[in-house]
Point group: C2
Chain length 340, copies 2
DNA sequence: CTGTTAGCGCTTTCAC
DNA sequence: GTGAAAGCGCTAACAG
C-alpha cells in the first residue's frame, strides 16, 4: 500500500545518534539527559516517527483494550451505557472494543473468546445467555445486572428493589389505588428480578393486593399485554387497575399504546411508571414515559473502574447505585399535570 | 495476576514433539502431514492453547481493527449506524474500535492519532470538525456525509437531494400548499447540505415560494424555532405555512413540540416530515415523526466494504444510497390518517 | 544516565 | 513436509 514503511525506533536512534534504549526512555518518560532528549525529539519530528502501539502492547503484554459485550445498541438504554463507557474508557487512556452480541449466545461466546485471544485488559458484560462456562477467571471482568454461578465476578447494577418500591409509592402518591406490575424477562437470573420483589414488598407494606403479569420474553409481549388488558376489564368497560409499574420503559410504552388504542387515557385513566429513564432522541430531559431512572453514566463509570482495579480481591462483589423517579407525561404529578 | 502464564506455541510444539513452524502451519491451515496435525491438535487441546492474537497481529502487522469515529451514540441515528457497523465488522472477522468524539475536535484528532498508532485496518469517520490536516493518507478511510478538501477520501451518504424533493412532494400530496424548510447545521460542508438544495429545487419545480430557516447550530435552535413560528403567524393567529420539511427528525420533533405548545395541531394544522427515520426505542417500525428514512444498515455496510476494498483506487469517491418516505404520525397519509 | 542485549509469541523464509 | 533460525518493534534488565 504505502511504499516506504513507517520509521521505527531504530531509525530514530540512528538519526539521533543515540541508542535504542535512550529513544525508548525518552518516549516512556524515563529521565534522560536534556541534550539526548532534544536530539531524539528532533529526530522523531524529522522522521514523523510514531510509536507502534501494537508492538508496544505486545511487548508489555498490555493491550489497553477494554471489551464491552452488549446485546445491541439500538436500544437507547444500551446505547447510553455504551456511550458513557466509551467516555470513561477514554478518560483512562484505554481503548474500547465494542462487541454487540445481537442476543445470539454463540456470538457472545465468540466475543468472549475474542476478548481472551486479544488479551484485553478487561471485559464489561451485559449478557442474557448462558456463557458461564466460557468465562476466563484470570481476566478482569464485571457484569451488569446478571449473576453467574460458579464465578466470583463482580456485579454492578441499579438498586432495583428500592426503585420498584419508589414506583409504587409514586403511583399511590399520584392517586392510584390499584397499581399492577408487568414484566417480561429473560430466563436467566439477574439483579433486575428485584423489581418484582420490590413491587411485592411495596404491595404488602401498603396493604395492596399484588396483581401482575410475569412472563418470559418470547417476542409476543404485545399479545400478552392485550390479553392482560382484557382480563382486567369490568363488565362496564372500566379497568380493575389504575396504575402500572412496567419492568422497563419499553414495556410501559408498549402498554400505553395498547391502552390508548383501546380507548383508555394515559394518565387520566391509567398512570404508568416505567424503569430505565429512556429519553426520546437519547436526551435525558425528554422521557418517553414517567420512569424510575437508572444512573446510566455512573453505572458505566463504576464498571470501568471495577475493571481497572488492580487488586481484584478488593472489588465489591455487588455494587448497587440509587435510582430516581422522573416525570415523563404518563403520571399525574402535581404541578406537571393539571388536576381535573 | 495469574500464576502460570498462558501456554505459547513453543509449549505446544514441545508437547507435540514437532517444531514451532509445524504448529504455526497447523494453525494457519497450511498443509501438514495428517499425523503431525493430529499430534498438534491433541497438544493444543491438552494445553488449552489459544493463539495470542496480539502477537499474531504484531508479526503480520495486521491488527484486524476498524476504528469508527462518531460524535456520540446517544443519538439514535448514530447508535443505529454503530450497531450496523458492528455487525458488518463482525461478519468480516474484524474488530471494532469505538471512538466517540463527543463533538470535541481535539478528541477527534486524538482518536485519529490513536487509530494510526494502533495500526487499524481502516477508519470510518462521522466527523463535524476540521480534522483534514490530521488525516493519514496511507490508511484506508471512508467518511460519512462530510467532505474533506485536499484528500481523496471516499464518501458514503444518503441521496439527500432526492430525499428532500420527496419530502416536499409528499407534503404536497397530503394537501399542503406552503411547505417550509427548517435547518440547523454545522459550519462544515457535507452531503446533507443537499437537503436544502433539494427543497429549493422542488419549490421551483412545483411553483412554490421557498421559505426556510437556515441557521448554524449553536444550541439555541428551540429559541430560533419559536421566533420562526412567531414570524409566520397571521394577525388572526393562523399560520402562513402548513407543512414543514425538517432537516432532521430531531428538529422536526422539536418544532412539533413548539407548535403543539402554541396550540397548533400536528398534523391537522401543520404536517411535518423529518429526515433520518428515527424510531422510538430504536425500533424502525415506530417512527418519532413521519420521515425520509436513511438506509442506515446499508450505509454502514457500504462503509465497511469500502474500508476493506484492497484496491483503493477502485473505491468510488462518492456513494449515495436511496432514501424512502415512511409515515410516523405527523402527516395526513391517506389510510393512515382519518381524513376530516 | 546510556548503550547493549535478550527476548515477548508468532510467521516466514530456507535448507533439509 | 518439516525443522531451524531470523526477525517484526519494542521494553527492560544489565553493565558500564
Amino acid at each position: 500500500m504505502n511504499a516506504k514503511k513507517n520509521p521505527t525506533m531504530k531509525d530514530v536512534a540512528k538519526a539521533a545518534g543515540v541508542s535504542l534504549g535512550t529513544v525508548s526512555n525518552v518516549i516512556n518518560g524515563v529521565p534522560v539527559r536534556k541534550e539526548s532528549r532534544e536530539k531524539v525529539e528532533k529526530a522523531i519530528k524529522a522522521l514523523h516517527y510514531e510509536v507502534n502501539a501494537y508492538a508496544q502492547g505486545f511487548r508489555k503484554s498490555q493491550t489497553g483494550l477494554v471489551a464491552l459485550i452488549i446485546p445491541e445498541i439500538l436500544n437507547p438504554f444500551y446505547s447510553a451505557f455504551t456511550d458513557y463507557v466509551a467516555e470513561a474508557v477514554y478518560a483512562h487512556d484505554l481503548k474500547l472494543l465494542l462487541c454487540c452480541s445481537h442476543e445470539l449466545p454463540e456470538k457472545e461466546v465468540a466475543y468472549l473468546n475474542l476478548a481472551k485471544k486479544s488479551k484485553v485488559n478487561g471485559i464489561i458484560a451485559l449478557t442474557y445467555s448462558d456463557i458461564g462456562d466460557f468465562i476466563s477467571d484470570n481476566i478482569p471482568m464485571v457484569v451488569f445486572d446478571r449473576f453467574f454461578e460458579n464465578h466470583k465476578i463482580p456485579r454492578v447494577g441499579s438498586d432495583n428493589f428500592t426503585g420498584a418500591c419508589l414506583a409504587v409509592e409514586k403511583l399511590l402518591e399520584f392517586g392510584c389505588t390499584h397499581p399492577v406490575y408487568i414484566r417480561f424477562h429473560s430466563i436467566f437470573p439477574g439483579e433486575s428480578d428485584k423489581r418484582r420483589d420490590g413491587y411485592l414488598y411495596a404491595c404488602k407494606k401498603y396493604g395492596l393486593e399484588p396483581d401482575y403479569l410475569d412472563m418470559v420474553d418470547q417476542g409476543n409481549s404485545e399479545e400478552l399485554l392485550k390479553r392482560f388488558l382484557e382480563d382486567h376489564k369490568r363488565p362496564d368497560g372500566t379497568l380493575t387497575f389504575d396504575g402500572v409499574f412496567a419492568h422497563t420503559d419499553f414495556h410501559g410504552y408498549t402498554f400505553k399504546k395498547i391502552l390508548e388504542r383501546s380507548g383508555y387515557r394515559v394518565p387520566e385513566d391509567v398512570q404508568i411508571i416505567g424503569f430505565d429513564g429512556i429519553g426520546k432522541f437519547g436526551h435525558e430531559d425528554d422521557l418517553v414515559i414517567s420512569s424510575i431512572c437508572q444512573p446510566i453514566r455512573q453505572l458505566a463509570e463504576k464498571c470501568v473502574e471495577s475493571i481497572l482495579q488492580e487488586d481484584r480481591a478488593s472489588v465489591p462483589s455487588l455494587t448497587l447505585l440509587p435510582v430516581t423517579y422522573r416525570y415523563g407525561g404518563t403520571t399525574r404529578d402535581p404541578g406537571k399535570w393539571p388536576e381535573a
